[in-house]
């Protein structure tokens, strides 16, 4: 293809990516380096139906003047990144120096909002991704052996968790896990513990969220792997059968190697998806026991009075950085595969 044609061909995509992906990221990065202006305060008397009190109030005219001059706010460098609500360098150093044991240090680290959220985000990412892929693969193998007539309905039922909006799906499960709900009540009967509640302890909450994650992410792997199964060469499978390979051996030595490139792709997409886990935390009202990086951004932006843009922006930038770090091994692998094939 001539360079000119190629350029014209991809121009719309490049422009769209610049406008809708690159520019917003640049704006978020710039925003993360600023904090709000100093507020000019005056003392006033506030009166309401319940009496009068003397309180401070923002001098709007004076503050608006400062804002007019420099609309972005005060430049703060990396202050948004290293304060206690984010990377908390000062607090981490203190924990490192004064903790007596590893356990105590870990507990104190988990008391810092960013690290607490990061811990859950990573656990979610690395438990849900492989488990959901395994589940999806197992369903794909199962559906593939069904008679042709039964496949349609089976596929429909299998991808239901993906069709349901995540927030709705998590709310449905949340109510089922309620002690009066069908799952919660059954668990109480099975374990013989009438006070058992899956929403009360951090460990059980985490398990519920992880199970939910696997349930809702499984179908995506299923769809991709099922499509992949249709391309497995019948000849190879037949010769393996003639050689006396069992069903398991055929899966292990023929199907899995054939689907490996697909697995890389699924892992890539799922890791990115799971790193920005958010809806189940809101749906399950799990804020007390589990938070994620995306939840921190949300929490900054729906604050009581005003949005903490600087804080939200710095968490966003670190989330983007986290996604990049996660993807590096997968990208390296893809690059190697690509080179090998080129040779």
């Amino acid at each position: 293809m001539p360079h000119r044609t190629f350029t014209l061909f991809i121009l719309p995509a490049v422009v769209a990516m610049l406008l809708f992906i690159a520019l917003p990221i640049v704006s978020v990065i710039v925003q993360s380096l600023f904090v709000e202006h100093e507020q000019v305060m005056t003392e006033v008397e506030n009166c309401s139906p319940f009496g009068c009190t003397t309180e401070l109030r923002v001098d709007t005219a004076a503050t608006a003047e400062i804002r007019e001059e420099r609309p972005l706010g005060r430049f703060a460098g990396f202050a948004n990144y290293i304060n206690r609500n984010h990377l908390a360098f000062a607090q981490v150093r203190e924990i490192w120096q004064t903790s007596d044991s590893l356990g105590e240090g870990w507990a104190r680290l988990m008391n810092l909002p960013f690290y607490k959220a990061l811990a859950f985000t990573l656990v979610y990412c690395f438990v849900v991704t492989p488990c959901a892929m395994a589940l999806g693969f197992a369903i794909a193998l199962g559906v593939n052996t069904l008679p042709r007539l039964a496949r349609g309905p089976a596929i429909f039922v299998s991808i239901l968790p993906m069709i349901i909006t995540p927030l709705i799906g998590s709310l449905i499960l949340f109510w089922m896990f309620n002690p009066q709900g069908i799952l919660g009540a059954s668990l109480q009967v099975i374990t013989g513990d009438p006070t058992l509640s899956l929403r009360a302890s951090p460990l059980l909450t985490w398990i519920v969220l992880l199970v939910y994650g696997i349930w809702t992410n499984g179908p995506f792997s299923f769809v991709v792997f099922y499509a992949g199964l249709q391309t497995v060469p019948g000849d190879t499978l037949e010769s393996a059968m003639i050689d006396g390979a069992s069903r398991w051996e055929r899966v292990r030595y023929v199907i899995i190697p054939h689907l490996a490139p697909l697995a890389t792709f699924v892992a890539l997409v799922q890791l990115m998806d799971n790193f920005r886990v958010f809806e189940p935390i809101v749906g399950f009202s799990a804020e007390a026991n589990a938070t994620s990086l995306s939840w921190l951004v949300y929490n900054d932006l729906v604050g009581q009075d005003s949005q903490a843009f600087g804080s939200a922006a710095s968490t966003s930038v670190m989330t983007i950085a986290g996604v990049v770090v996660l993807l590096v091994p997968v990208l390296i692998r893809t690059w190697r595969d690509f080179n090998r094939k080129a040779v």
Partner: protein, 410 residues
């Protein structure tokens, strides 16, 4: 025949609408209302919408997301909404950014119906008109207290003792409930109790946080002691869940919003529970005499970035919506602050709190930052994973960072 009937009805409707807009006395303008979404506010919005005519348009958007959209919506010129229905806390960001206009002229011209205490003023300028009061107060089950031989508790210490008695007598395993879901509710619970101690949240004349004291620890210890008598799922309880638990007969004592009292004793509630539901002032804390709960007002403000004509039209439409006649037609849905209102059964608790000297939720510019810090940092404490000292230190650290980034602290 059918057609004529329809035509007659349509004509009748036009006539009614015609007289209604004449009542409002608005000549022309556009009225656009943004409000929270609960029963009382929907009545007011409907009342304001009666003012619509050929030359006056009235629209209302009632949504629980109002707090998140009011800032951006009123910042643009002309503003997306002409009227913002607000409360003690949600007026603050609008005041901070100068997005609402002084109402003194409008009150002089169109506000003859208002009582003096309906006017919310700051620095001598009227900035909002309040029309209803609200607040969390005690709900108690008369039958359970009678069976246990208990009086209605007036202090938190008595409330804990009552819970122990009810449990010991086998009447209820988890007699207490509170809206302590991490987030807005949990923080509001702390603010209620801390106001009850009579202490201040901030050092006088500054944004310096001052809750790390014995009263702060007393509040936290009380909150934790209460959870001993709650369902183990208490971390997921917000105000709406509390009403469901109450209606299911699972709770004997709780502090709950006055605006939800009507639902708890109304026609849709379980008749047996509703008949046994009593409402009273919030218990006091730490030997203090005032109820440990914040008082709230709901009211409206007029946007700055709109024409004077629209502002006048909006003010008049809202005056029609909160007129004594409109309130008299819906006496049970809220604790109205409007002239001529006779309190109904559901208003007992809020009025008892106000009469006993409960304090109002502060209108301080940085109170919202403290509320946010409390809402996330008290989660570990209320779940029983850290002690009060650590919780207070965490709140201070989170608040200091947020207040510095917002420009309130150096």
């Amino acid at each position: 025949m059918k057609l004529t009937l329809k035509a007659a009805l349509a004509l009748g409707a036009t006539l009614v609408a015609g007289t209604a807009s004449a009542e409002c006395g608005i000549e022309a303008g556009s009225v656009r209302i943004l409000s929270n979404d609960f029963e009382a506010l929907r009545y007011i919005n409907d009342g304001a919408m009666d003012c619509a005519s050929d030359s006056v348009t009235v629209e209302a958007n009632a949504t629980s997301e109002h707090k998140n959209i009011q800032g951006p919506a009123l910042s643009i010129d002309p503003a997306e909404y002409t009227v913002a229905v607000i409360a003690n806390n949600s007026i603050v960001p609008l005041l901070n950014d100068g997005l609402i206009r002084p109402l003194d002229d409008l009150i002089a011209e169109y506000g003859q119906q208002l009582l003096p205490n309906q006017v919310i003023s700051t620095g001598g300028e009227a900035m909002a008109i309040a029309f209803m009061g609200n607040g969390q107060h005690l709900f108690y089950r008369k039958d359970i207290l009678d069976a246990a031989g208990l009086e209605v508790p007036t202090t938190y210490e008595e409330m804990l003792a009552a819970a122990e008695t009810i449990r010991a007598q086998g009447l209820m395993e988890t007699p207490l409930a509170a809206s302590v879901k991490p987030g807005w509710d949990l923080a509001a619970e702390f603010v209620n109790l801390y106001l009850g101690t009579g202490d201040e949240f901030f050092a006088p004349g500054s944004a310096e946080l001052a809750i790390d004291n014995d009263n702060g620890r007393l509040v936290l210890d009380t909150m934790r002691a209460m959870t001993e008598y709650m369902d183990p799922d208490y971390l997921t309880f917000d105000a709406n869940v509390l009403n469901q638990l109450w209606d299911a007969g699972q709770v004997a004592l709780m502090n709950q919003w006055g605006s939800l009292a009507g639902a708890a004793i109304g026609e849709t509630a379980d008749p047996e529970i509703a008949a046994n539901t009593g409402l009273a002032a919030t218990p006091s804390i730490g030997g203090n005499s005032i109820p440990a709960a914040a008082l709230w007002w709901d009211g409206f403000s007029i946007a700055s970035n709109i024409s004077d004509e629209d502002a006048a039209a909006s003010f008049q439409a809202m005056m029609h919506g909160i007129s004594p006649e409109a309130v008299a037609a819906n006496p049970t849905v809220a604790t109205w602050l409007v002239d001529g209102y006779a309190p109904g059964d559901a208003a007992v608790g809020v009025i008892a709190n106000a009469n006993a000297g409960a304090r109002a939720y502060p209108m301080t510019p940085y109170m919202g930052l403290l509320h946010t810090a409390l809402s996330t940092e008290l989660a570990d404490f209320i779940a029983g994973r850290e002690d009060a000292d650590q919780a207070l230190a965490d709140v201070k650290a989170a608040y200091d960072d947020a207040a510095t980034a917002a420009g309130f602290l150096q």
